[in-house]
């Protein structure tokens, strides 16, 4: 199976996101990327759409649901969000969505900072295999991987997709 071209993905995602923000009448979105790949994607999208403002960063290590299985992630870097997320329209960004558990953890963590007006989910790739009822509002492409296959975003410059 071959991976899609990353520039093509970004071009399509940029256009979709621009249309989406207009449809939803979101004027001043707050981009929040999930460490590490999601932050790169969020930076790129925010830059391409020429949107101003701080970029939020979420490290979901303290909110994972697999602490009982794999313990604490040894390299927790912490989350950084702007002063207040109260009543903000959040564009939550991750590189690859699979089980949906990361997004569940990220949304739980976001609510520790306040009550946003809305959260929209944007992912570069959707590889299926969902375990929770969570779907992206926008995604660059849907892939079906073979069992045991994983796709990974490397970066930050250049951004590239690799299959493992």
């Amino acid at each position: 199976m071959s991976l899609p071209n990353i520039e093509t993905l970004f071009t399509a995602l940029n256009a979709d996101l621009s249309r989406y923000l207009a449809e939803q009448s979101i004027q001043n979105p707050l981009f929040v990327g999930i460490r590490t790949g999601g932050v790169w994607v969020a930076e790129r999208l925010q830059h391409s759409l020429a949107l101003q403002g701080d970029l939020g960063v979420l490290d979901i290590s303290f909110h994972r649901d697999d602490f009982s299985y794999i313990g604490l992630h040894p390299e927790v870097k912490g989350s950084e969000l702007p002063e207040s997320i109260e009543d903000r329209h959040i564009i939550l960004v991750d590189d690859v969505i699979m089980s949906g558990r990361t997004i569940r953890a990220a949304m739980n963590e976001l609510f520790d900072f306040g009550r946003p007006a809305s959260i929209s989910l944007v992912c570069l790739l959707d590889v299926g295999r969902r375990e929770l009822p969570i779907q992206p509002d926008l995604c660059g492409a849907v892939l079906s991987l073979q069992e045991g296959q994983h796709v990974k975003l490397t970066g930050p410059s250049p951004l590239a997709l690799t299959l493992a």
């Binding site: 299985y69 604490l72 989350s79």
Partner: protein, 332 residues
């Protein structure tokens, strides 16, 4: 006690599963504790201060000796990790009715506890308990006799790192009652491992343990010499309750010679920070103008104490969890 306390606190692959002493722990592991604590500081500044890491776990604060600050910060740390916490003041309970230490522990284990935070007057108590408890129960040493107080030492390291940019290359003086201080021992080990340029101990001969220089520090009997060019001055509390013999002429005499005043602090570097593990005896080991002055970071230490205790509890629980999974995996 058959095993080295440093080994007892680590899993087979070198991760923390108890926290008994800073002695013998690697620079990498001490740094991991500080990095994790740094992340927890950011969670403490949010509206919602809790994270769900230890949800469903039960932590028992087992204090055989009085303590207010340490116990309170361990309690807050456990609560902010979403654990349930039970505070037991053993000094006033079963032990005074004649129950042995191990009977007390077995009873607590029967209540499905996951972690004991232990403060005890005897050196080695936490290590002894760590060897006796059922696997999967993590032991955190909250101070044992004159031996160690590792979480205090690590919160002091975090304070230095955050206020001086790092520990490497710094000159650190520890002043006062070193003889009775478990804090000083844990600090010296951590400072040496983390690369301090020089660790000095300053105090009267009667309050300095024999051969303390073997731990890798330089001994000074006069503040005028010991404070010169220091980046960090750590004052220790004069432990009145541990003074069983006449080690000092009087408190006022001690203050004259070893109390930290503005004049004496001028001998250190102009941007030196002043630390104290608390509780402070104003006018005995530290002057109020210094304790409340611009160079004092004493209250910052208390805030960092919560983050460091959260880090150590999360890491030890994580290590226990891994061992448990491996054991279950082998059994399957």
């Amino acid at each position: 006690m058959s095993l080295d306390p440093c080994k007892v606190q680590l899993t087979a692959d070198g991760r923390l599963k108890h926290f008994l002493t800073t002695e013998g722990l690697s620079k990498e592991l001490l740094t991991e504790i500080l990095d994790t604590a740094d992340s927890f500081i950011s969670t403490q500044e949010r509206d919602v201060k809790k994270v769900p890491l230890l949800r469903g776990k039960t932590v028992v604060n087992l204090f055989f000796e009085n303590s207010t600050r340490t116990r309170a910060t361990f309690e807050l740390a456990a609560k902010r990790l979403s654990a349930d916490i039970l505070n037991l003041d053993i000094a006033r309970s079963s032990a005074s009715k004649g129950e042995t230490l191990m009977d007390t522990l077995w009873n607590l284990e029967a209540m499905y506890s996951d972690m004991f935070v232990v403060r005890h007057g005897d050196s080695g108590a936490a290590h002894f308990i760590a060897e006796q408890v059922t696997p999967h129960v993590a032991i955190i040493n909250a101070g044992d006799g004159r031996h160690a107080h590792p979480t205090q030492a690590m919160l002091d390291m975090l304070t230095i790192r955050r206020h001086k940019g790092g520990i490497e290359g710094k000159i650190v003086a520890i002043v006062g009652d070193i003889l009775h201080s478990r804090v000083a021992r844990s600090q010296i080990h951590a400072l040496r491992t983390l690369g301090a340029a020089e660790v000095r101990v300053i105090g009267p001969g009667t309050l300095l343990p024999h051969n303390i220089e073997n731990l890798g520090c330089n001994v000074f009997y006069r503040m005028e010499e010991g404070l010169k060019d220091c980046d960090v001055v750590i004052m220790l509390r004069l432990q009145k309750e541990r003074m069983q013999s006449a080690l000092l002429p009087s408190e006022s005499e001690f203050f004259k010679l070893y109390g930290l005043t503005e004049d004496k602090l001028r001998l250190a570097k102009p941007d030196a920070i002043v630390m104290h593990p608390g509780p402070i005896n104003r006018g005995v080991e530290i002057d109020s103008t210094v304790a409340d002055g611009a160079q004092s970071v004493i209250l910052n230490q208390v805030s960092y104490g919560i983050a460091v205790r959260m880090a150590v509890m999360a890491m030890a629980m994580s290590g226990q969890q891994q061992e448990k999974n491996e054991r279950n995996g082998e059994g399957a």
